[in-house]
């Protein structure tokens, strides 16, 4: 069982929430990198080539939103495009949800309606499928 831990990049501007997500993910055996701006997140992706999943909020610190981030990675290299993205946000405008879904994300969660463990369960399942089928 010396399997390396899966890495999740969490992009969330609210410090307390970011902290909660990090703690819960680590409890669930993930390795976590956290970012609060789009640029920070892109830098991490540049440095760590083995990010397995991305947890993305919509509103972030700085001018760019989660949508801008998603556009950048979906237009980036093939490896970046493949990383599954889970958008967890309280901003549920229909046009935004549509834009995210069109760009290709796994799921859009309304933050206040879901428990942490529900979302993490979904991420786990998703990565297991990817593991079994692709890797």
């Amino acid at each position: 069982m010396a399997q390396t831990k899966k890495i999740v990049l969490v992009i969330e501007d609210e410090q307390p929430l970011l902290e909660a997500i990090r703690i819960k993910l680590e409890k669930c055996d993930f390795e976590v990198v956290t970012a609060r701006t789009v640029q920070q997140a892109l830098n991490y992706l540049e440095d760590i080539k083995t990010v397995d999943a991305i947890w993305l909020d919509h509103y972030l610190i700085g001018g760019d939103s989660g949508l801008d981030f998603l556009v950048k990675i979906k237009n980036g290299d093939a490896n970046l495009k493949k990383i599954p993205v889970f958008v967890v946000s309280n901003t549920a405008t229909s046009d935004k949800v549509q834009s995210y879904l069109q760009l290709g994300i796994e799921k859009y969660y309304i933050k206040s309606d879901y428990r942490l463990d529900q979302i993490i369960e979904d991420i786990k399942k998703n990565l297991e499928t990817v593991n079994g089928n692709v890797k």
């Binding site: 609210e14 929430l17 703690i23 309280n90 901003t91 405008t93 229909s94 046009d95 933050k111 309606d113």
Partner: protein, 513 residues
């Protein structure tokens, strides 16, 4: 008679005249006897003259009399004709002439009389016509005055309404623009006459790109009662664009279209307010939910003992915090839904929906509560239930509210049944419970916002009074119906219809959920 007498006298006088002259010359030399003789001869001559005059001149004199009467218009006399000589013939001709003239005169008089009657009739007709024309003129004057008043009124309205107004012919050439229109566009009427409306206002989209003029094609305008849009922009004289609400409709005379009337209004301000409202709801949804998420997630972790073991009492307290926070999330969601419904900003996004599947998921979510209250659930679905184009989120809200209400407002060990059937062009969702029921005097308020019936307020403290209001709003948008029957302490049945044909997409900035 007079004429004849004059003739006779003059004749006698003429015949006597030589005798008298001869007598005067001879008188001095003659004896008494001679004188007597001469006197006798003279008398005799006079008598003979008289008789001759009578015989020869009387008829001529009578003819002269007759001619003179003819002249006076008297054609009725006759001459007694005895002789067969020329005078007799002339008299006969005169008699005939008199007769013919009399006949002619009689005919003529009759005709004149007839014509006179006719003429009188015509004069009367003319007088009637004249009177009628005068009346007509009077009426026309009244109508003219009325028309002038109406025209003045129309003009006053056109000039004073705040909306811009353009009237064009069927080629869309501008025939009239009112003051407000001139002000909105910065053009003057005289600069615009005979130019095409669409060319002048340059209809554009929000990115200032010209749009196809198909939207306002003549056919479309003629075929529909009116065309309304507030999605486009007009261009001012200086090239600046502004959002505009446009209503275009045809103007018809005797059912024949003669022109187009376009009413328009600068809606910059409305658009700004709309945007501000939408942004507020968006911001509120984000801002209210974020702290709730923090409470939820940390409580969740404490309860999961991620931060170390907790005792039973701590667990109980944390459960309360967690439930309270969950309720708060529910309330925020419901309020946001209401604000979206009221702003009209919520979207309907049709997708193929399996109603049975949605209902079963909702029932599964309710399972803990159902089990907790030992409520019996019956559900049945029409075996021919098709997949329908509905918005799954909205359908979920309908089932969620109707079923959770039934469970919430039914005492322990009661029954709740759900049937989904097809009738005509509708799907009927029927939810029946054996619950507390709705008091009769409050049944008319049951779909009102924030209303909760008296009999359940004390039994269940979690309700918001928003659920049925939201459900009804959604069903209204689906063109469905919702109704109920209820008796206090016996139970309630809610029925809702959804169109089998599905619903149309409605653009909006928000989804309900």
């Amino acid at each position: 008679m007079r004429i004849r007498f004059k003739f006779t006298l003059s004749f006698i006088f003429l015949s006597l005249f030589p005798l008298v002259v001869a007598g005067i010359f001879a008188f001095q030399k003659l004896s008494k006897t001679d004188i007597l003789f001469i006197g006798f001869i003279a008398l005799l001559a006079a008598v003979i003259s008289f008789l001759v005059a009578r015989i020869f001149f009387r008829p001529i004199s009578e003819l002269a009399d007759m001619a003179s009467r003819f002249q006076e218009g008297n054609f009725s006399q006759k001459i007694n004709v005895q002789s067969k000589d020329e005078i007799g013939k002339i008299s006969q001709i005169f008699n005939n002439l008199g007769k013919q003239l009399q006949e002619l005169s009689l005919n003529f008089e009759q005709k004149v009389e007839e014509r006179t009657v006719e003429l009188k009739g015509k004069i009367k007709d003319l007088e009637n016509t004249k009177r009628a024309i005068l009346n007509l003129l009077e009426d026309l004057e009244i109508i003219k005055n009325k028309l002038e008043t109406a025209r003045a009124k129309d003009e006053a309205i056109l000039v004073n309404i705040g909306e811009g107004l353009i009237f064009t012919d069927l080629e869309k050439r501008i025939l009239l623009i009112n003051k407000a229109g001139e002000d909105i566009l910065d053009w003057e009427e005289k600069e615009l006459l005979d130019k095409t409306w669409t060319e002048v206002v340059g209809i554009k989209n929000e990115n200032a790109e010209e749009i196809s003029s198909d939207l306002f094609s003549l056919d479309k305008i003629i075929d529909s009662p009116f065309i309304f849009t507030n999605d486009y922009y007009y261009t001012k004289k200086n090239g600046k664009i502004f959002p505009v609400a446009i209503t275009a409709s045809k103007v018809s005379v005797n059912n024949e279209p003669i022109g187009i009337i376009i009413v328009f209004r600068d809606i910059t301000r409305e658009k700004e307010i709309d945007k501000a409202k939408t942004e507020f709801v968006s911001l509120a949804s984000h801002q209210l939910r974020t702290p709730l998420s923090t409470i939820n997630w940390y409580t969740e972790m404490l309860l999961a003992e991620d931060a170390g073991e907790i005792n039973k009492e701590q667990k109980k307290y944390l459960e309360e915090i967690y439930q309270g926070s969950k309720r708060m999330v529910g309330l925020v969601n419901a309020l946001l839904n209401v604000s979206r419904i009221e702003l009209g900003t919520f979207a309907i996004e049709p997708e193929p929906v399996d109603l049975k599947n949605v209902a079963q998921i909702v029932l599964k979510e309710l399972e803990p509560k159902i089990k907790n209250k030992k409520i019996k659930i019956h559900s049945s679905f029409d075996s021919n239930l098709p997949i329908i184009q509905l918005d799954p989120r909205l359908v979920n809200i309908i089932f969620q509210n109707l079923l959770s209400n039934a469970v919430k407002y039914t005492p322990s060990e009661g029954e709740v049944s759900l049937t989904v059937t097809i009738k005509d062009k509708d799907v009927i969702i029927k939810v029946t419970d054996t619950g507390y029921g709705i008091p009769l005097n409050q049944q008319d308020k049951i779909f009102s916002k924030l209303f909760r019936a008296d009999n359940v307020v004390s039994k269940d403290t979690e309700g918001t009074g928003l659920g049925l209001y939201i459900v009804k709003s959604i069903i209204d948008h689906f063109n469905g119906r919702i109704w109920f029957e209820s008796e206090e302490n016996k139970g309630t049945t809610f029925c809702a219809t959804l169109p089998l044909g599905g619903v149309k997409r409605k653009e909006g900035t928000k989804t309900l959920g």
